[in-house]
Amino acid sequence: MSEYFGLLTKRMNQFREEVLTAKPKVCAERAVYTTESYKEHFDKPIVLRRAYMLENILKKMSIFIEEDTLIVGNQATENRSAPIFPEYAMDWVVKELDEFEKRNGDIFYITEDTKQQLRDIAPFWEHNTTKERGLAAIPPASKVFYDLGIIKAEGNITSGDAHIAVDYGKVMKDGLKDYKKRTLAVMDSLDLTDFKNLKKLYFYQSIIIVIDAVTAFAKRYSDLATSMAEKEKNPVRAVELREIASILTKVPYEPADSFYEAIQSMWLVQLVLQIESNGHSLSYGRMDQFLYPYYKKDIDAGVITEESAVELLTNLWIKTMTINKIRSWAHTQFSAGSPLYQNVTIGGQTVDKKNAVNPLSYLILRSVAQTKLPQPNLTVRYHAGLDDRFMKECVEVIKEGFGMPAFNSDEIIIPSFIEKGIKEEDAYNYSAIGCVEVAVPGKWGYRCTGMSFLNFPKSLLITMNDGVDPKSGVKIAEGVGHFKDMENFEDLQKAWDVLIRDFTRHSVIIENACDMVLEADVPDVLCSALSEDCIGRGKTLKEGGAIYDFISGLQVGIANLADSLAAIKKCVYEEKRISRDELWNALINNFEGQDGERIQNMLLAAPKYGNDDDYVDLLVTEAYNSYIDEVVKYPNTRFGRGPVGGTRYAGTSSISANVGQGLGTMATPDGRKAFTPLAEGCSPTHAMDKNGPTSVFKTVSKLPTKDITGGVLLNQKVTPQVLENDDAKMKLIAMLRTFFNKLKGFHVQYNVVSRDTLIDAQNHPEKHRDLIVRVAGYSAFFNVLSKTTQDDIIKRTEHVL
């Protein structure tokens, strides 16, 4: 633990230990109460059914208050246990029941009783989940892309959406009662002879149900705290429990008046949103901004001290860490480390363009460094006016070696938001969502990124193979000829343009089919109520309730595409050292046989992305532009229904999809062997960036960043020694400033950890239980990652700073 930032208080240290050592289990309660409620209210409009579901769960689920906590609210029967959300998908749950404990990463324990409970409810969900409806809704010509893993959208139909931040500032300031009041007012004025208003009525009725349900849920904790206080022998703890009891009779229904109340109000809502839906990347937004008035008031009044404020914050982070999510094994490979990506954003600018850093920004850094957990995901909004003192404090957190904070830059994000029609005051108020992606809290629909994953290198192989997937032999697109017959490199470029546009259209079709099912089947009542202007419009988020609604998918394998194109151009067409037949055969044979290795070596020696070499960098920019140009043409399902936007842009926040998608991809012309991981995000391929970090920044900055508003993910790893002295630290900061101020970069995060440590952790996981690494846009415990993902991380180039 940190010398610089100080230690956790004794009880928070205990609480952290308790959560860290808790075995992740599967919890059936939510699934059982959901099924029960769905059956009971099967006749009701779906939005009401969803409201009754949440009400039933919150009324009946087990609740507890941990010995060391000041903040209350639990997601499952035990901390780190994962609830099941049967309405999204139940087939994989039942199929994998006996496998959860045997996984080689993201293991979950399950009792025979729980298995039986889940088996008992399974029949109700047959042909009755978003997954099944989603798969049925995707037209066959597009579904083949889904089935072959070229376009992945499993996460979209097997769990909730999220990738959103509600406006917690408003929740704590006005209380849920204000939302209820507004809802009642509009509900009263509805003219029900207009059939459209009937639908709104159901939505409004639902909002009232869930707000009352959340209030009653808070009351349950209040009652529990009271009864615990009565039995408590320690008088100090008894006082605390009584305070908890009193706070929970007030928030989140009533406005919060203190820092403590504000945090409790926020946490309970953050929790319930993650019981309502299991969509991940549910983010807090700009916490140093909206919490600051409460902090200031209490610190000025002497109600709290810096130390007690930090303790509450650390308490919140440990609570944040208790949330868990179980995914199918297939999906786990895209989201290794069971991350929830609950993001906290600090820094940046105020809406009147001033430096927004305040004393609470520093305390959030300190508290996150003290808890040193993979949750929350901490993002610092960089801008040119961020002073060196704050930057140095950020570097101190980076030195702790758990991949935080990540930096997102105002210098590119705000202008590209304004260009897309976001009001200036809202653009200045953006926050990170999940890891790299960005949106305006409380005003933006789901999934500013996180739609489908499109595998670029695999798309290139299919392009080369005349539209036939070489792995399965299935013809999935009308090709423009086989690579073997392409006389010029330009022929291949043209073929890519045609096919990737076609694939892009299929990704849009798949996404829209999924979104229509989600809209019809699983509206999130509470999340919608807390997002503007759902109440005003009488529409859920998926119906077009948000003020802004832009989405993006994730394009995976950017560096592999770059390196493949460059190697083909260089080795086949310019130097003619490899014939087209030879290359194709080598790919099919995975570079096996004597000639294969020779060819692979030549391909590996070709120019590589990440070295500031225009030869390769400009090839991928051009290839990527075909995708970008195509995807912006296609509105999402909310277009014209209320939100500004209703459209799409590009995104590269591939999380650990590079591993999963690599598993399904044959050898590629960059010299990559079959089934090995692809490059992550916009980072270079492992060990291929040989010119150091400035060159990587230069390369990444050549991508059309202002059009990749879904996020340009760049992960850099540094060894801890490089940050030892002030001089080197300032150089790192100068490098970041250059990347953001001059090169207009979007995002970067640092993984400061030594290679030896990682190898040791792989061999002796028990010795490194709290070792955290960035897998891509987030942090995860190293020892819960699969071996392939671990190897992937170890192989990353270490820049010697």
Partner: protein, 300 residues
């Protein structure tokens, strides 16, 4: 257009130990000194060389037969490359079935070098950095280096040079006009010891140092602290006295390290410092103290 060529063995971006800010370091190949501890043995010979990786070698001897200069010979089932005889024909590369050879050194035009270092200009500007020319010994290719420095001046880039100072005073003084910062290596204050460790004595070096001080150049002396060569406290006194006499105020200490050990094997060169323990700043606190006591600004 400047097509004049320099022989380099590396261009390294994001260098943070060779002058202020973020820098690009250009390594010139060829050096008149033969320091025992040299961590860049590939920098010594002023021509293109081949390095050989014994781990990849299958001892097929094709390279021995293929070398037109007879620079490769067989010894105890292994091979030995005579660096002085090698003319850089690269026949061994073509003959070798397992890619065991690699080339050290490349002739690059001034234009190419300048355009490569200009790629990071944004980083120099933001950090107050620039370009550092080093070696080997850059003064051995002074004319072409000056061409590079002139081009950099046109772009307003801060220019540092790290040198042993071992060059004719005329060459050295001409060179001085084109630089903003001089990182001046000093291996030993004593001429006899200097010759022992590096193969040359330090007379000319100290003369050039004085000349640079006289010209009012910004100078940092850099002392590689080598075990059993110049690492005693008495040596620290000797260095301090010497530098004070010359009038240099800033000193960087470079503790001996072993990063270069593997390179000697690849180049079939003998390494005299094998298994000598590395030094770290914490081993040299007293040593540093001597400099500070003598009024010098001494850092690691």
């Amino acid at each position: 257009m400047n097509q004049e060529k320099a022989l380099l063995f590396n261009i390294q971006k994001f260098s943070i130990h060779d002058g202020p800010g973020i820098r690009t370091t250009v390594f010139f190949k060829g050096c008149p000194l033969r320091c025992h501890w040299c961590s860049n043995p590939e920098s010594q010979i002023g021509k293109i060389q081949v390095a050989w990786n014994s781990l990849k070698c299958i001892s097929c001897q094709k390279c021995v037969k293929g070398c037109p200069e007879g620079a490769i010979s067989e010894a105890k089932g292994s091979i030995v490359i005579d660096g002085e005889r090698c003319k850089g024909w690269q026949e061994c590369l073509k003959e070798c079935p397992t890619d065991s050879f690699q080339i050290e050194g490349e002739y690059k035009t001034v234009d190419k070098i300048v355009s490569e270092v200009l790629k990071d200009i944004a980083f120099y500007e933001e950090s107050g950095g620039g370009v550092t020319l080093t070696g080997g010994e850059v003064l051995q290719q002074a004319d072409v280096a000056i061409e590079i420095l002139k081009e950099l001046k046109k772009h307003n880039i801060h220019r540092a040079v790290e040198t042993t100072g071992y060059a004719a005073p005329k060459v050295f003084e001409k060179f001085l006009e084109h630089i903003d910062l001089l990182l001046f290596d000093l291996k030993h204050y004593d001429p006899v010891k200097h010759k022992e460790g590096t193969g040359v004595d330090n007379m000319i070096i100290l003369e050039n140092m004085k000349a640079a001080v006289k010209k009012g150049k910004k100078i940092v002396a850099r002392i590689p602290v080598i075990p059993n060569f110049n690492d005693s406290l008495q040596d620290a006194e000797g260095f301090s006295k010497c530098l004070n006499e010359i009038g240099i105020k800033n000193v960087d200490l470079l503790p001996f390290h072993q990063f270069g050990q593997k390179k000697y094997d690849l180049l079939c060169m003998e390494y005299k410092m094998k298994d000598v323990k590395q030094l770290h700043p914490e081993d040299l606190m007293d040593y540093q103290e001597v400099f500070i006591r003598n009024g010098l600004n001494c850092k690691f």
